[in-house]
Assembly symmetry: C2
Homo-oligomer: 264 residues x 2
DNA sequence: GAGGAATCGG
DNA sequence: CCGATTCCTC
């Protein structure tokens, strides 16, 4: 048996501002592949050298100025790549690659959706739901072994949030978003790897707001970051982990990295 | 004979952002009185505790949000204070105090005057000239021993700037501004203490733009900061010094402190 | 060039 | 709350 393949997803909230902690993470945890969201940098300014120096020589970027931006950094070869623009609005929210094994990795940053969970008064909420719908159409046609990772900005289950009741009208946990996410999930053989390894009602969070002084005090987290695998890929998953400790690092992202290990 | 009284004036360009270097300066140079301009802070947010801790327990503030703002910090008692609003526009550009000796200190921040030295097209230039005119009217009525200090934003003499010819059309060294400053000076028994101790054509600068990478390279300075004393006060001045080294400190102001010592 | 604030998106 | 950007002033 070969050594397992470690794949990490992390909403980094500006890769340049947080280069220190990303480097620390890569040195300590040594994943084979790192998928980043919210890199907030155009491709020409992406700090590729820092990643190359750590052995991540295969780099696929889809950045834009100021907002959004995704990236895949890998120690193992990436043989193909795509940058979908599902909403044809030039927002850099997806980059996809194929590994030599044939498995694809699709790295996605779903729109946050604004504050008010109402399409009529908040266009951003509408955009979020539309984005999920376009992803669903794409997912229906998928036929290759695929790992979908990223910040999906939805915490679907009661145990995905610190208080189901208090967040029912909060964007990221509203029934209409969860329903949209459920349709996406049902559109293929998707396995939610987080819940595969830590079934509900286990507490599982990946994001804690910057707005509380100490994120650990009331632990008001949400599970916004996900890894979904098509059944063939999920069958090879051996381990899943959420690096909560990164939320306490100096100048942290509000999201922490999540990791799945595959026997490939 | 008593120990001399050391009085410093410094345009600090945000007293909060530069608290470190102000504290260092006070510890090292130990003036009795520090007059600041461009404190850029409302009175309630002024870091008074830091100054009290260093022995500057007598504090007179005239601050405003974001722009301008002046302050007098003193180890010796301040027995009276004024905040003039010469242009009745609520800009915090003056604070004045009286010492127990009877001498007054008037701390002023004259408007910079914008880029174009033409009243017709640049209202800020007009405001600057108007401000000097109002100061002149005030100065004419002055009858008490007075030390006027501050950022007057004018370098009147050829040797007050790095190049008289190249700056003749640059705001701060235009003939019209110099004429206005001359009228102010002539309106009382004012003695320009800088030039009293370092007569022209000696080089005497107090400000170097942030825009050059290394301020020392071409030494493109200007003398924008001044100390003027009425004749009775000037007679007691024993020493004058410009702390140029502060321009090389970490996170410097673009102005450096100037100091006059008095045998009082 | 540098600081501060307002704005936007999170 | 946080980061990035834009605007303004000096």
């Amino acid at each position: 048996m070969t050594t397992p393949l470690k794949i990490v997803s992390w909403n980094i909230n500006s890769v340049r501002f947080r280069l220190d902690i990303v480097e620390t993470f890569l040195r300590d945890m040594a994943p084979d592949i790192l998928c980043l969201q919210e890199t907030k940098v155009v491709d020409q300014d992406f700090p590729t050298d820092s990643f190359r120096a750590l052995g991540y020589t295969h780099i696929m970027l889809h950045g834009q100025k100021m907002h959004h931006g995704v990236a895949i950094l890998s120690k193992v070869p990436l043989v193909e790549d795509d940058r979908f623009d599902w909403q044809a609005n030039q927002e850099a929210r997806h980059v996809g690659v194929r590994l030599e094994s044939g498995m694809r990795i699709e790295n996605v940053y779903v729109p946050a959706g604004g504050d008010v969970p109402d399409r009529a008064v908040n266009p951003k909420f509408g955009q979020k739901l539309d984005f999920l719908e376009r992803m669903t159409q794409w997912s229906q046609g998928l036929t290759v072994p695929t790992l979908l990772v990223g910040d999906l900005n939805i915490a679907p289950l009661e145990s995905d949030v610190w208080s189901h009741k208090q967040l029912l009208k909060t964007v990221s946990h509203t029934p209409v978003e969860v329903a949209a996410m459920d349709r996406l999930k049902a559109s293929n053989s998707w396995v939610d790897l987080g819940r595969h390894f830590f079934p509900a009602p286990a507490r599982l969070h990946t994001w804690w707001s910057y707005r509380s002084v100490d994120w650990t005090v009331n632990d008001r987290g949400r599970r916004l970051d996900h890894m979904w695998a098509t059944a063939d890929v999920a069958a090879k998953a051996t381990r899943h982990h959420v690096y909560e400790e990164c939320r306490s690092w100096l100048k942290p992202s509000d999201h922490v990295p999540i990791m799945t290990e595959f026997a490939i």
